[in-house]
Each structure stands twice: as C-alpha cells, then as structure tokens.
Amino acid sequence: METISILPPELIRMLIAVIIIISFLFLNAIMMGYLERKIAAHVQRRPGPMEVGFHGILQLIVDGVKLLGKELLIPFKVDRTLFRVAPLLSFTPVILPLLVIPFSEKLQARDLNLGLIFIVSMGSVNVMALLVAGWGSNNKYAMFGAMRAVAQSIAFEIPILLSMLAVVLMCNTFSLKEIVGAQEKIWFVFLQPLAFLIYVIAGVAETNRAPFDLPEAESELTAGFHTEYSGMGFSLFFIGEYTNMFIVASVAAVLFLGGWHGPHLPYGEYLGIVWFFLKVYFLLFLMIMIRWTYPRVRFDQLLNFAWKYLVPFSFVNILITAVLVKL
C-alpha cells in the first residue's frame, strides 16, 4: 500500500479534487432537489414545478437564491455557538467521504487503504451535527428529534458495518478501488443479496429518509432537529441530507453493484463514471420512490426492527460468508 506522502503535486491534485467535489456537491443537491420534487409530483399525479425554465428546471436555483437572501434567525435563549456551528458540522463530514470514492478507474481523489472505514467514521460524525442542532435550539421538539437521531444512528450503523464486512471478507481489502476491481466478473449483489438488502434498508434509515425520517417527523415533531433553522442554516442541513444520500448510494454501488463496471466504453478508465452515476442515481430514485409511498414507522418499531431483525440477520450472513470463504 502507498504511504501518505503529501508532495506538492499531490497537494495540488487534492486541492483540485476538493474544489470539484464541493461544486459537484451543490450541483447534486440541486439535481436531487429537482428530481425529488418532480418524482414526488408524478407519484402524486400532478406536474410539480413548471414555472421557472423548461419544466421548472431552474426552480431549485431560484429557491437557493431565495434561501441565501433570507435572514438566519437566531431565536431567544438558544446556545448561540452551538446553534451556528451545527449546520457547518453537518455539512463538513459529508464532503470528506467523496474523496475516497472511486468514480471510475482513474477518477478518484485518493485511494486510502482503509477507505471504507474512513467513510463509516465520517458518517458517524454527521449525527453529532443533528445532536448539536437539537441541543442548541432550546426547543423541545428539536431535542426530541436530536435524541431520536442519535438512537437511530447507533442502531443502524451496526447492520451497515456488518453488511459491509461481508463484502470485505470476500475480497480481503478495505480499499474501495480494489473492492470494485474484485467485481470485474460478477457483482457482489449476486453473491451477497442479503447483505445488499440489509445495507439498503439501513442506509435509508441512516440518511433519515422516510419511512425512517423520525428525527424530522413532520406530523409529530413539526420539523424535528431543524425546527428553529431558517435560510442558509436550513439549506446546509438540506444539502447535507442529499449528499449523505449520495454517499450511501455510491457506497452501495461500489460494494455491491460493481462501481464503474459495465458494458465497454471508449476511454473506459475515465468514462466508467457514466455507469457509476447510472447505478447511483438508480438507487437514489428508489429511495425517493420509497419516501413518497410509505407512511412513517413508529420509533420503537424502528429500533426493534434494527436490533431484532437486521443485526441478527447480518451476523448470520457474516458467519455464512466466513465459512464459505474459508472453504
């Protein structure tokens, strides 16, 4: 494995990558916001945004400008420091995992040999932001949301880790590039269907999306942890959520759906990114469809589901995988 040596050319490479990733991240949030509204509209048999641009394609940009122009309201008696830090805290950790995700064979900011662990650890930092936001808001509904977020995150990180581990057992590496490389012949979704299912379910819960959107359960907690946020503070949470979804979907694509692999394209080592994005957006489409179809589960049902079903099943899955790999 390579040692981490930050030489000037490597530094420049990283800088460029970070800039591209941050700009992509905003673009992704805009695209996802548009897709979400359009898909939701079509699920509900209505046209959705139609006014700004062709079929409302510029709607989210206009919304973004509006949110930028809004005052960041700080309510009475909140913890000012925490209240201001929380949106940034939710935004920062979602940038970093994108650095290690292999978009195609040669398009990867940096291939860490512990890439998978890095992504999971960054995902855990994200829940800190929700806790800080809920705690700092001086609002009981926000506090409920924050507490639910923490309990949910702890419950669902375990099945996520265990389902990832099943893949790691099969290819003996934590490096995302090598995991994708190992799927040249057959995607792991066919070898590990149970792990894939567990990962997708737990992933939806990890990103706080309906039917597991308990931290912001609108009909119960008004808006959960971001009840008190307005303007850019709110939109940073919003972008954070969409980027989180993107990361969960792209890790699923890397681990189970063969990353950049697909029918041969010219300049395959670069254009593999097309297959990668198709897979990621297919998963995101699924997540959006689920959100607009199902009611919300109750909190204790959600935790029971995680501890009584997902965790035991993923343990069994790991056991079977370990035995089969040893054979």
């Binding site: 509900q44 209505r46 409920f144 609108e218 009909s219 009611p295 109750r298 909190f299």
Partner: protein, 370 residues
C-alpha cells in the same frame, strides 16, 4: 413502565399546538410527558370561538343559515340539513319529496368528500404524503359537482326552509353517476396503497382502543362509536328525512382501535355511494321548494333535531318564544364529545401514537369551538 422513580422526577410539559401540523387547526394539547411517553394530555379549546349560538339568538332564523356551514366546513351540508329540518319541524313546514331526495344526495356526497379528506389527512399524520393528494383529487370532483348546483365549494348555504335553493339538472345526475363509477375504481388503489400497507397496519392496529363502555361514557358518536362495535347511526336509529326508504348498512368495527375507525369510514363511503345510487334511480319529479311564509314564527316551546354528520350525531336544540328569532339555540357537535376521551385514552402512550389517535378521531376544531 409508567411510574418508575426516574419518570416521576423527569416530567416536563410540551405544548402541542395551537400551531402544530397534526392538530388540524388551532387546538392546543398540553402534554405532560416523560421522555417520549405521554402521561397526561389535556386539550385546551376556545382559540376560534365565534359565538355562533349567540348569533342565532340575535337575528331572524333565516339569517342564521350561512353560519351553520361555518361550524364544520369539511362536511357543511348535514349542518344545513339539521338546521332547516329543525325549523321546519318547529314551524310545521312540509317539504316536497324531490327536495328531500336532493338533500340526501348532496349530504351523502358531502359525507364522502369529508371522509376522503380525512383519509388523506390521517395518512399525512402517519407520515405518508401521497394519499392526501389522491384524496384531494377525488374530493375535487365532488366539490365541482356540488359547486354547479349550490354555487359554493365549501361553506354551502343550499338548503332552504321548505326545500332547496335550486333544482338539480341532468348534468348533475350524469356527473354524479360518473363520479360513483370512478370512486369505486379508486377504492382499489386506496386499498393497495393504504389498507394493506404493513407500516400503516402496524401504526394503527391495537392503538388507541376505545372500549364500547368508554365510548358510551364519553358520548362518542359517529364512526368513532361504530369503530367500537356499537351500531348506532342516526340515519337508522332515529330516522329523519327519507333515509328509511334506502337500503344501506351500518359498518361497525370489532375492538375500537384506530384501524377499526379507519375501516368503518372506508366502508361508510361505499354505503354512501349506495344511498346516492338508489336516490338517483328513484328521483321523483315535482317542485323543490314549498310555499313558506316570509316571516317564519317559531312557536313557544322547545324542539330538537338530530342528523348524522360525517363525524357523528349533530343535534340542534331550539327554544322558541313565538317570534321569528330563536330564544335559545344549542348545537351539540360530535367532535367535542369525541375529543373528550383523549385524557383517559392518551395516558402512558407514545407521542406518535397520540398523533395517530388524534387523527383517527377526525376532529374539526371550528366545529368544537363554534
């Protein structure tokens, strides 16, 4: 679970409302909580009290007609119906048969519209966004049909003493028949999307069980009472208008949980469609409005009239003193009694269950506050 030392020490109050997405209006519920468990929910009413009853006592009885629709704006026509029938009973006015048929058809259409709105709003309380737009889509058809003959979409003032304001035409009959056909097809979608959904069943089954005894103690009526297994429907038990001539069932639930209340309403919509079909088939010819004196005199003495609104038994109680102005008018609304069991029902449950129970009662706050 309830009375551990930790929970005794760590109680706090949470104001749910008056602005909260799932109280459906300006209802405040003060919750005494311990963690996510609700220990004591206390509803606080009166945010939109408009003195409708006092208004009735200070003007001629005709002028009160528009007010009746402002109490329960979701299902306004039965409110019209109750009031005109009350004054007709008091003043001894005979209503032409065609007018009674029109009243029944429009009231039942309004009931279906109300249940459709409730279905969507309830699912919204449970966190599903899509059914409310499906429900609104169907409800829109009813509102269009009613708008054509009544002139308004929500706060109707269509019935008159001795009949209805305007006769219905062939277009109304055709579009109502077309709508019934369409809604029967849509019920299949609702069943697939909602009724058979495992998450929905988990959120409603065995939640908020109202025993028959408890329902009677609090004076619950309507689908909430029938959900507890008591087949009491004013249209059957205390028949008014021409309801005895129709063949329809009173659906009842088994154990009185949220799912039963949901099922009762869904099945009630089908029964309402049956009533409308029969009424359309037998629609008699004739006048739609009887000759009524310009100044109606309300004879001394009291009089009561009950109708089945979408939420339960609605009864008007009127005391006359020989003039055209009621001496006293009391409106007994179903939502008020339906809500009154919440403090007993909501003890020691989770906050999401409280939202589920509140939604299943189908409350309309302006009706409670009047």
């Amino acid at each position: 679970m309830l009375e551990s030392d930790f929970q005794k020490k760590n109680r706090f109050f949470l104001n749910m409302g008056p602005q909260h997405p799932s109280t459906h209006g300006v209802l405040l519920i003060v919750l005494e909580m311990s963690g996510e468990y609700v220990l004591d929910p206390q509803p606080v009413l009166g945010f939109i009290h408009r003195m409708h009853e006092k208004m009735a006592e200070s003007r001629p009885c005709q002028s009160f007609m528009p007010n009746t629709a402002r109490m329960d704006y979701v299902c306004a026509l039965p409110y019209n119906h109750g009031y005109v029938s009350l004054v007709e009973r008091k003043a001894g006015i005979e209503v032409p048969r065609r007018a009674e048929y029109i009243r029944v058809i429009t009231s039942e259409l309004n009931r279906v519209a109300s249940h459709l709105l409730w279905l969507g709003a309830y699912l919204l309380d449970l966190g599903a966004f899509t059914p409310i737009l499906y429900g609104f889509d169907d409800r829109e058809h009813i509102l269009d049909i009613l708008e054509d003959i009544t002139g308004s979409r929500l706060t109707y003032c269509y019935y008159r003493f001795g009949g209805v304001n305007q006769d219905i035409d062939d277009k109304f009959v055709d579009s109502t028949r077309a709508f019934i056909k369409r809604l029967r097809k849509r019920f299949v979608i609702y069943e697939k999307l909602v009724t058979k959904n495992i998450i929905f069943i988990k959120r409603t089954e065995n939640i908020g069980i109202v025993s028959p005894d408890m329902a009677l103690r609090y004076g619950m009526t309507g689908p909430n009472l029938r959900g507890s297994g008591i087949a009491y429907d004013v249209r059957k038990n205390e028949p008014y208008s021409i309801y005895p001539e129709f063949d329809f069932e009173v659906p009842v639930g088994e154990q009185g949980d949220c799912l039963d209340r949901y099922m009762v309403r869904v099945r009630e919509m089908e029964q309402s469609l049956r009533i409308i079909e029969q009424a359309l088939d037998r629609l008699p010819e004739g006048p739609v409005r009887a000759k009524v004196p310009k100044n109606i005199k309300l004879s001394p003495g009291d009089c009561n009239f009950a109708v089945e609104a979408a939420r339960g038994e609605l009864s008007y109680y009127l005391v006359g003193d020989g003039t055209g102005v009621p001496y006293r008018l009391k409106v007994r609304v179903p939502s008020y009694s339906n809500l009154s069991c919440l403090p007993e029902l909501g003890r020691g449950i989770l906050l999401p269950d409280l939202v589920s129970i509140l939604g299943s009662f189908d409350l309309v706050i302006p009706e409670m506050d009047r």
